[in-house]
């Protein structure tokens, strides 16, 4: 008889049957306890590989390799002294002698047995379900079978329009098949969404090319040997050559039944709140456990159950599993869907609903009759508010006076909806993946056990799962420090205890020219990837020196003067001022792209991006570009990018000024200007604003009297319109104000802070900014202008410097000791051009 490892001392054996996600979590929690070493932990898994992340199974089809899904590798189990046996299906339990036998004939004795057998896909009894081409969706092996079959299929149907079914639909779509979803209920995700929410989801999925058929009950799967057709109870049919069944799960309790453990009528091992089955030495956790007549098909509750058992066995702590919140938020095929609390308003209460079918957004919150508390709700298309809404439900936080603002956003003022993270009670769960409360996090901060967000993550694992709570962690950190009376000192990193503004000032008045001088004089340690590029940016803004001279402090994009892309190749963007380009120059770009096999795309900034350049080709490509009169476009740098323009009065019948000429003038003036973040601009020739100048860091719009100057606009994550700084300016004054504005921003902004958030934090707002820029209230305008004049006078094309200098060309190769190119670069073809092979 085997007991796993021959134990010298009499260690007790804990045997876990099953090696899925919950089993892995059980092991992880088990070995983290000090008493773990007094047990032998033995895990038996039926599948041929160790535990992997089933939740993200569909990513396997995105070219992900199975190792990336692995939760605990074989090495991990070995390092933690866990005896893992994969490919061993437990077939018998002898409760008298306390042994488990596997299909390979191995026998293990146990002192305590944990059943973590999970569940199997539920396969409805449909005629023809045994045919070739019908699959279930649960394991990597299932996916491999689908993958090989899908090569000869064109059209697939997924039976089941719930959570799992839509995940499977994504997988099928990723295989490149025409995808249909067949749902028995009248709507998608019937357990999470109401009719209106499901309708929006359906419309969004259909827009993505997935066919949805609801209210369909399959009676027959037709076909000779292979699947060819589905026939439904309403006599309608659907031609398909592949079917994936994802219509629910059934607990794997067959072994438990065999030995007479109490099981539920619809499956599942009956356990009490301590996860104990009817046999005192046998526990059940995860999807197979039936607690208070409920089984849980989500990992969160399964992890809680694992914790309950680990604590009982190892710490003697009295914990119990009292049910779980089934609120979920997920991205289904790119669509945000969330359902939380009492989503259908089954208790006494009323609902507030917001629906925008054009945008595909549906939000519903259910509140108590008296309007004091939120009970639950549904979000489709935009689930940004999920965290805060869920916190209000779980912590019974009082609603604001106008609860509709929670989903509509406040009207009028620019304030928020009146609840910050500090209003939450200490027991509020911040990270629901790892079960970390606000209190735990705040205590760590208060006890000064952590110095930053990554410290919180490392200590508690909060924020390391789905990452959805990261913004709350940030707020908690700054707000807690503030509440301790500590000034949240804006520091760049552990090496430079300075704000960027202080750094800028010190570098300037001390005339520091290199990173090492800065660190020696004002910092400590050896620097890092945060402070090095910040100092590089400040040095560049102040002195406009050749970037390559200190390439060790540049981010890779600045080091190679190109944008790194997936796979490790770079993209090349020559400057096209104002978006005006001659046919000859276009031809040069086209010829180059052909010669070096580059993928071409027109950018949003009216220029041409050439992707897929090998690092060793960059100097050769630029040699030809410089020869043809092109300059660096600085797409790789935190610097001025482009000045877009509409065609203006030269051609356009509406134009009132020559916007193209002005855009070219502006772009040529500020090209190469390094700043805390990228800078974008545009010039429109009339009030129709075709160049979209109001979405730029600085934008100029022609009037019949001159030019209106707008500042601090932003596209991107949080779009914000630029505000009018001054109206009807002549060109010279307009440029003068831009000079001052840009230099003021460069001098005072935080690292990686664009003009819009910088402006939002500026006390006094636009009036203050006007005072500084127009009325020189700080008396710094002369200095700002001087600095801009220095920048303009010292401009140089960074690429010209490189191609004309043998020494600077040298680092542009993949191997320092060989002329070979990186053999791991991989490209695939799409629409006649190359793109990088997808990464994991």
């Amino acid at each position: 008889m085997e007991t796993g490892k021959k134990s010298k001392t009499k260690k007790k054996n804990i045997v876990v049957i099953g090696n899925g996600m919950v089993s892995y979590k059980f092991c992880e929690k088990f070995v983290s306890k000090p008493k773990a070493s007094s047990y032998n932990l033995i895990v038996l898994g039926e599948e041929p590989r160790p535990a992997y992340d089933r939740v993200h199974l569909s990513e396997y089809f995105n070219g992900m390799n199975p190792e990336k899904l692995t939760l605990g590798s074989l090495e991990w189990y070995a390092e933690n002294d866990i005896q893992l046996y994969v490919g061993q299906l437990a077939t018998h339990i002898d409760v008298t002698n306390k042994t488990v036998t596997t299909d390979k004939g191995r026998i293990f004795t146990y002192d305590k047995l944990i059943m973590a057998t999970g569940s199997a896909p539920f396969v409805p009894a449909i005629d023809g379900v045994e045919k070739d081409g019908v699959f279930v969706y649960r394991t990597i092996e299932d996916l491999d079978l689908m993958l090989s079959y899908a090569k000869r299929a064109k059209k697939a149907a997924v039976i089941g329009g719930g959570l799992l079914g839509l995940e499977a639909a994504k997988a099928v779509k990723d295989l490149g098949l025409e995808t249909h979803v067949v749902e028995f209920a009248p709507r998608l995700m019937p357990r999470q969404l109401d009719d209106a929410g499901a309708r929006i989801l359906k419309e969004k999925l259909e827009a993505l090319g997935i066919w949805i058929h609801t209210d369909k009950n399959t009676t027959l799967i037709d076909g000779d040997q292979h699947v060819s057709k589905m026939i439904f109870t309403d006599d309608s049919t659907l031609d398909v050559d592949m079917i994936v069944i994802s219509a629910g799960i059934v607990p794997r309790d067959e072994l438990a039944r065999k030995i007479g453990l109490e099981t539920g009528p619809r499956g599942g091992i009956v356990v009490d709140e301590k996860m104990r089955s009817s046999n005192p030495d046998i526990y059940a956790i995860g999807e197979v456990a039936l607690v208070n007549n409920m089984t849980y098909g989500l990992v969160g509750p399964g992890y809680d159950m694992a914790e309950v058992v680990v604590k009982q066995l190892l710490t003697g702590e009295e914990t119990s599993f009292s049910g779980a919140d089934l609120s979920t938020k997920l991205k289904l095929i790119g669509v945000d869907v969330a359902s939380f609390g009492d989503a259908f308003c089954e208790q006494e209460g009323r609902s507030i609903v917001y629906e925008d079918r054009a945008k595909g957004i549906y939000k519903r919150i259910n509140i108590t009759e008296d309007g004091k508390y939120i009970l639950g709700g549904i979000l489709v298309g935009d689930a940004e508010d999920y965290n805060m809404l869920l916190q209000r439900v779980t912590n019974r936080i009082k609603l604001p006076e106008n609860p509709e603002e929670l989903i509509l956003g406040p009207r009028g003022s620019d304030g928020n909806s009146g609840m910050g993270v500090m209003d939450l009670p200490d027991e509020a769960l911040i990270c629901t993946c790892e079960n970390i409360t606000k209190g735990t996090i705040c205590d760590l901060i208060k006890a000064e056990k952590v110095n930053d967000i990554s410290g919180i993550k490392a200590c508690t694992k909060a924020g390391t799962g789905c990452g959805g709570c990261a913004p709350m962690l940030n707020d908690l950190y700054t707000e807690t420090l503030k509440s301790m009376g500590k000034e949240v000192k804006k520091r760049i990193c552990e090496h430079l205890e300075l704000s960027r503004q202080e750094l800028y000032h010190l570098v300037k008045i001390n005339g520091l020219r290199t990173y090492n001088e800065v660190l020696d004089n004002f910092g400590q340690g050896d620097g890092c990837e945060i402070c090095k590029p910040v100092v590089a940016s400040v040095l560049a803004s102040l002195w406009n020196d050749v970037i390559q001279k200190q390439c060790h402090i540049q981010d890779t994009n600045d080091r190679f003067l190109a944008n790194i892309q997936r796979g490790g190749s770079y993209s090349v963007v020559p400057r096209v001022p104002g978006g005006e380009i001659t046919p000859d120059k276009l031809i040069v770009i086209g010829e180059l792209a052909k010669k070096y096999d580059l993928y071409c795309k027109i950018t949003g900034g009216q220029r041409i991006d050439l992707f897929g350049a090998k690092v060793n080709d960059l100097p050769k490509i630029w040699e030809e570009l410089v020869e043809a009169g092109f300059e660096s476009g600085h797409a790789y740098g935190k610097a001025l990018r482009t000045v877009k323009s509409c065609v203006g009065s030269t051609w356009c019948r509406y134009g009132v000024q020559d916007s193209v000429s002005f855009a070219i003038e502006v772009e040529n003036r500020y090209k190469g200007l390094r700043s805390p973040h990228k800078l974008k601009s545009a010039v429109s020739g009339c009030t129709r604003e075709c160049a979209e100048a109001q979405s730029k860091d600085f934008g100029i719009i022609a009037t019949d009297k001159g030019w209106n100057l707008y500042v601090c606009g932003n596209g991107g994550t949080k779009p914000q319109h630029a505000v009018l700084l001054a109206a009807d300016l002549d060109k010279e004054t307009c440029i003068l104000y831009i000079d001052r504005f840009l230099m003021f921003y460069i001098k005072t902004a935080e690292p990686l802070q664009r003009t819009a958030p910088w402006f939002n934090k500026l006390e006094g707002g636009i009036d203050y900014l006007r005072d500084v820029i127009i009325h020189d209230s700080l008396g710094i305008c002369e200095e700002l202008e001087k600095q801009m004049a220095h920048h303009v006078a010292t401009y140089h094309c960074e690429w010209k410097e490189v191609v004309e200098n043998e020494e600077r060309r040298k680092p542009f190769k993949h191997y320092a000791n060989s002329e070979e190119e990186d053999e791991t670069l991989e490209f695939v073809d799409v629409r006649g051009q190359k793109i990088p092979a997808p990464w994991d």
Partner: protein
Amino acid sequence: MKTKIEKEITTWFRAINVEDIPNDNGICIKVRGQQIAVFNFNKRNEYYAVENLCPHKRQMILSRGIIGDMQGEPKVACPFHKKTFSLKSGKNLNGEDYCIKTYPIKIEEGSMFIGFTD
């Protein structure tokens, strides 16, 4: 100059002249068919060799990362998503489970040797 010598090393492979590694910077070299990132941590007067592959998205890139330290631990940051790894132990410093392989090195007569155990 710091060198690292381990007993089980059977082959010392002469990899590169140390003066060919720019100060406080890294380069990639190909040794026995493997991509290895070597760093000249001039600020600390130390050299390091680690695998060039960032395990996060499996990209051959670490030699182009910025080096520095976290509370004294020398590290390299991957240029793609700023995952950082100890140059000494190869451990990820952002609390992730994956890590990178580090190689023993020695510097003799201006050359860096990388140690292999097979």
